[in-house]
Subunit: 364 residues, 2 copies
């Protein structure tokens, strides 16, 4: 095993250069107040010994790591199975790399590990955090707040600045002033359901996402907005709870066909749910879109192009969402050091909402 | 943005408890030498103020972070596209979580970012590193060595303790004493090629992996071992270089059919390469296995089960490989603190080689 024992110490550098530890420390950390000939001697000793400054010590001085944590509040198996996260990470990675910041992805087996994640965040290993896929009863936001790490959330957190009362509140005292990036979930859902109604469909169903996530709640609200406008359209049996996965979409679609065999349109909460629904519709002998029209959400490629038939869906720019989260965090961190850049600052709190677009393919 | 400014300081705890900063520090870091009534007062002040010890400061004392970095020497796009990495991470995540260690995945856009990764590793943010998918000319091993971080490698590194001279050596002075976990690449390849020969095939080809990785070189060597034993079997045109990806497999298979239209068997360096080869064989009107028998490597599920026809392949236990890497690293770290556990130590240097098994399905 490569061992740390042989690493040259600050003391060794000081001895070689014939100066004090404090002088070495000042030179290594870029501080002033050391005469140039002495500084040069220290730099030479550093080079000769191959001394690598301990960043834990250095960061106590500079308070900057050039590293940003990404926390996805899902088990690692889900992170690698759902292409949504890969796309979001792609945007984040590009933006952080362009600013020479290290992307530090903190993986977990599940919610039991969130306290450990918060400890790592509190431990002075990163400058800030990007957190997404929060669930309403997750203690993570409270723990992150207590850790005092600047954070940008992906998706509107479940406690709000929009007047809505969430089903649950974080575990500890929260400032409502959080920064988040989201897409227009409710508006996108409205556009999808209106399209189904405009096609002349009269039994329009909704397979929801995981309802402990605000994105799922907002999409359900968008569906309800439109159904409330159409006389006689609303029927609670047309709403089936699901969980954003293909397997969940299959189960929900089977339940829906049992409850309402006359269904003629389905708005699925995301493309993966639509994928599961399409499988069950095909197995039941129903034609899409002739018998049942189907619309998804995300426009996750290649999934949405490769379904049979290709999926009509609500597009959100997932990669751009990741990039924007990273940009807002980095600007906030820079602002903390350079107050002259105030015009470039993100808002101290609030959401940046990206637009959505209905993409028409063959399924509706 | 959630700001760090409001975080209670060590000074505040000291003031509240009526003791010195040094005393608070000793209590927080579990040190001795503080009388119990005083220690109790400090703990109470910590609880009342919600003080979170700065781990950068604490780690200077304890030198332990309970965090392990994972570095995959591939761009993040590749990490999320190739299920091999998801499986290895699954094993690592389970093992680290079982020991309450945080998995810190360091993602990059490419090799240009490896110096930054090494800086993070050197920065005192993790106790050790698990590094895999190394390429021979990558400076990362040298940088990691200089960083002085205990490391276990996944896959035999390209400089060796097996008498082989690698095509390239790391950038800086290396102890050859590295610990790694690998599977029996050469033996597995031999078993696959022998099976094809035993089926009576006389024109047995090999689509290689990326030859700047030892796993690809070892599998090619295994292929050559068997071909050298069969009189008249060797033909350099039967070896086509590829890169472990489905697209690379397609390109290599097309080239092979152009060179040797009489090919009747293909040993592909991994299952993804075989997947690409099967597509091209089907498009060319050849039946598998009747006209051309195909064998892959990895037994990556569900890929290998869902090819058409299901793939005969060499199984290695990828998840177990990840778990074992994590276990060896954690034991090494524990050994560094507890010399009495010497019997439980991993070897100071060398490889742990896991066995492989030929899995027969329909393709050969």
């Amino acid at each position: 095993m490569t061992e740390a024992a042989s690493r040259p110490t600050l003391e060794a550098v000081a001895a070689r250069a014939g100066v004090s530890r404090a002088t070495v420390s000042r030179v290594v950390n870029g501080g002033d107040g050391v005469r140039e000939p002495v500084a040069e001697r220290v730099r030479q000793a550093v080079a000769e010994l191959g001394y690598v400054p301990n960043q834990a010590a250095r960061s106590l001085v500079t308070r900057r790591h050039d590293a940003v944590a990404v926390v996805i509040a899902e088990p690692e198996t889900r992170v690698f199975a759902d292409p949504f996260f890969a796309l979001q990470l792609r945007g984040i990675s590009k933006e952080l790399t362009a600013h020479d910041n290290q992307l530090v992805l903190l993986l977990t087996e599940g919610r039991d590990d969130h306290a450990r994640v918060a400890r790592y965040l509190a431990g002075g290993h990163v400058d800030g955090a990007l957190v997404f896929s929060l669930h309403l009863d997750d203690p993570l936001p409270g723990l992150i707040h207590d850790a005092g790490v600047p954070t940008v959330f992906g998706g509107r957190p479940g406690w709000g600045d929009d007047g809505r009362t969430a089903d649950a509140t974080p575990s500890s005292g929260h400032d409502p002033g959080v920064v988040y990036v989201d897409c227009d979930n409710r508006g996108g859902a409205r556009a999808a359901v209106r399209h189904l109604v405009d096609l002349g469909r009269t039994r329009v169903a909704h397979l929801t996402g995981a309802l402990d996530q605000t994105s799922a709640v907002d999409r359900l609200d968008g569906y309800r907005d439109v159904m409330a406008e159409v006389p006689g359209a609303s029927d609670p049996r047309l709403v089936v709870e699901s969980d954003f996965t293909p397997g969940g979409g299959e189960r929900a679609m089977r339940e829906l066909l049992g409850r309402c065999p006359d269904v003629d349109a389905v708005f699925a909460a995301n493309d993966l749910t639509a994928l599961g629904a399409l499988r069950v519709l095909r197995a039941s002998g129903r034609r899409v879109p002739e018998d049942v029209a189907v619309i998804g959400f995300d426009d996750m490629l290649p999934v949405a192009m490769e379904t049979d038939p290709p999926l009509t869906t609500v597009r959100q720019d997932i990669e751009e969402m990741g990039r924007l989260m990273a940009r807002l965090l980095l600007r906030g961190l820079a602002g903390g050091r350079d107050r002259t850049a105030a015009a470039e600052q993100p808002p101290a709190a609030g959401g940046v909402i990206l637009p959505t677009t209905l993409i028409r393919r063959a399924s509706a």
